[in-house]
């Protein structure tokens, strides 16, 4: 479903942020990119969304090549969620969720129905929450609205940059559950950037460990626990899990 080949990014000619990254995910699969701060996770994710133009490499979603369309069209086919949700403070919950659909001039009835449906999915009843502003929501609620916004246009692929990073552990845990169950129904192909090994183990069908702009190991939880590629992976798994 999503395929990244030899992706590279060099900033200002000398900062090699991402040095040839390749991986792929099947439909319905969740991939977690994990690594220490500054290893190139966000840069990789932004290149897939074309917020950053790659220096080199290939990105495919289904059979569509990222370079075959303009960036705005490309981004509209991909759900995008960032830390602290990035909800617009001047818009209500329903206007945040429907922002893109309104801009794309979708039918009014369709928008109302879809927002109602999505708010049901994220367990935030329309009647209670639709007209609230982001400032009137808890961190976890904001994050759920962020996910609903990303799902509005029903994209096959979702990119999430540390989506649960700013939440307290209890909220984070319950959102993990909700999120996992949600995707059992929706079957989206999802890339989650995280620095939390537990989160990666819990949510990722596939875990992609990055270090200094390169992939050190790609595999399942079992691969990482039983067959670490090298001493660095072993250290990392021990140091970053069970906090």
């Amino acid at each position: 479903m999503i395929k990244v080949e030899n992706l590279r990014k060099t900033f200002n000619g000398n900062i090699h942020a991402v040095k040839g990254v390749s991986f792929s995910l099947e439909k319905g699969e969740i991939g977690c990119i994990i690594g220490t701060s500054g290893c190139g996770k966000t840069t990789t994710l932004k290149m897939i969304n074309r917020l950053i133009e790659p220096t080199d490499g290939k990105i495919l979603v289904g059979s569509d090549d990222a370079r075959s369309v303009d960036p705005v069209t490309w981004r509209r086919k991909i759900g995008y969620v960032i830390q602290k949700a990035g909800l617009l403070p001047h818009l209500t919950v329903k206007d945040n969720i429907s922002l893109l659909s309104k801009i794309m001039k979708r039918d009014r009835d369709f928008i109302t129905r879809r927002v109602d449906e999505l708010m049901g999915i994220i367990n935030m009843p329309y009647d209670q929450f639709a007209n609230r502003y982001p400032i009137e929501l808890s961190g976890g609620q904001q994050q759920r609205v962020g996910i609903a916004r990303a799902l509005m246009e029903d994209p096959p692929v979702m990119l999430m940059d540390e989506p649960f990073g700013a939440l307290d552990p209890i909220t984070r845990n319950s959102l993990h559950e909700e999120f996992w169950n949600l995707n059992e129904k929706l079957h989206k192909t999802i890339i989650i950037v995280t620095h939390d090994m537990d989160e990666a183990f819990k949510l990722g069908h596939k875990i992609i460990l990055m270090h200094k702009g390169e992939i050190t190991q790609v595999g399942t939880k079992e691969d990482f626990l039983e067959r670490p590629a090298n001493a660095f992976v072993e250290d990392f798994v021990q140091g970053h899990s069970g906090e």
Binding site: R75, P89, H90, L99, I103, I135
Partner: protein
Amino acid sequence: MNKFLICLFFISNLYANVPIIIGSKSFSESVINSEMLALLLEDSGEKVIRKFSLGGTKVAFDALNHGGIHVYPDYTGTGYVMILKMNGEREPKKVHEIVSRQFLDKYGIAWSKPLGFNNTYALTIRKNDKELSSIKTISELAGKLGAYKLGAPYEFMERKDGYKGMASEYGLNFSQENIVSMNAGLMYSAIKDKQVDFIVSYSTDGRIKAFNLRILKDDKNYFPPYNPAFLAKADFLKQNPVLKETIQKLEGLISEDEMIEMNDQVDRLKQDPKDVARNFLINKKLLKGEIINQEVQTSFISFAYSRKGELLKLVIEHLWLSFSAIFFALLISLPLGVLLTRKEKAAKLIFPVINTIQTIPSLALLGFLIPILGIGFAPAALALFLYSLLPLVRNTYEGIRAVDRNFVEASRGIGLTNTQILFKVEIPLALPIILAGLRTATVIVIGTATLAALIGAGGLGDPIFRGVSTVNSNLILLGAIPSALLAIIADKFIGWSETQLVSKGIRLAKKRRA
């Protein structure tokens, strides 16, 4: 864009040019003389427009020379010294001959015959000043003045035949820190209250009598003659024989005592210059009608009520001027402010320029615009427009730059174009700061618009300046109170519109932070 503005302003000026526009400087005598002309012209069925607070000689003469007004009274001495930059001749007839010939050659402007009296400068002291009681002439003061204070009008400190000439002719030695240049109207209160000991007054000023002052004799005939006469473009006079005939009726008509009397009626007794001028013309059988001896106004409320028609007109002028300036400033500032956030290099070049405009003193800016745009609405609106640029451009720029980059990034990430981000995200989020800029600009403009009266643009500054020059506090309040009220109302209105325009989500967030 600026060109377009200027054209627009000119068109509004042209439209006003049908009736005879009579100017006057902003002191009672000039207003009374102009009012006489206006009344006689109206009596013969002419339409006139009064522009009676034109500040000093520079403004009034430039206005006549560049077509902002058609006629105004000035003094032979002023024309000779200030405008022609000549000196030496002190014989009244000769000075009149010289200015008449030279003005016609240089500017195509004709002088009428003098109106009669002579209003020259005079060194004046308190009658009851004991230390100076033996002094009768200026010569007797030579070398004695170290600790005394002198108050003099701004103009007098500037001109060749003013302070410098007088000091050297008579050997006067006021020390520099004891010389106060002040508004001619405030000078008389200053000497009465002993804040100064000498003033340079005018010889026909009503307050010499009213404030118990006396004039020291100009025993060396230092001060040149100042005989008032009407100035108008020669061509204009030819096309308007009625104007010429009407001016002739006033030539040689007014004696010194009569002028002092009329000045006193306006300055001290607070009578309307229009009534004073009308009474005089009736006495001289030039007008028919009843003598009006209007009671001295006591309460401000009844005074304001009696002038309610005038007040309404002034408020409308004031608002129209302020709003045109703000409207065009908004039209330019919003796109400019946004553009500058996209072009940081240009911002570094443009902000110093806008900042500099803001630091030019308002009167200097107005004076600077007169040679380019003449007097009246155009230069005043342009100056106010320039003043409101800074707060508007700066707040638009700062407001948009203060928008959290995360919101912009998130919006771009979900597929908004740059234009959509600007209108759906950046501007709504920057709106509180932009409106704060609008608030500042509006308050500045409504306040500064009072100065527009000095260049004939009317508005609430008009009674303020007439009031200052005639020491009439009711008149000052008539302009000052409404203009302060307008500023407060505008401020509150924009504050209220903020609650209507700015999203509740942002206002809630702001409250929570506070």
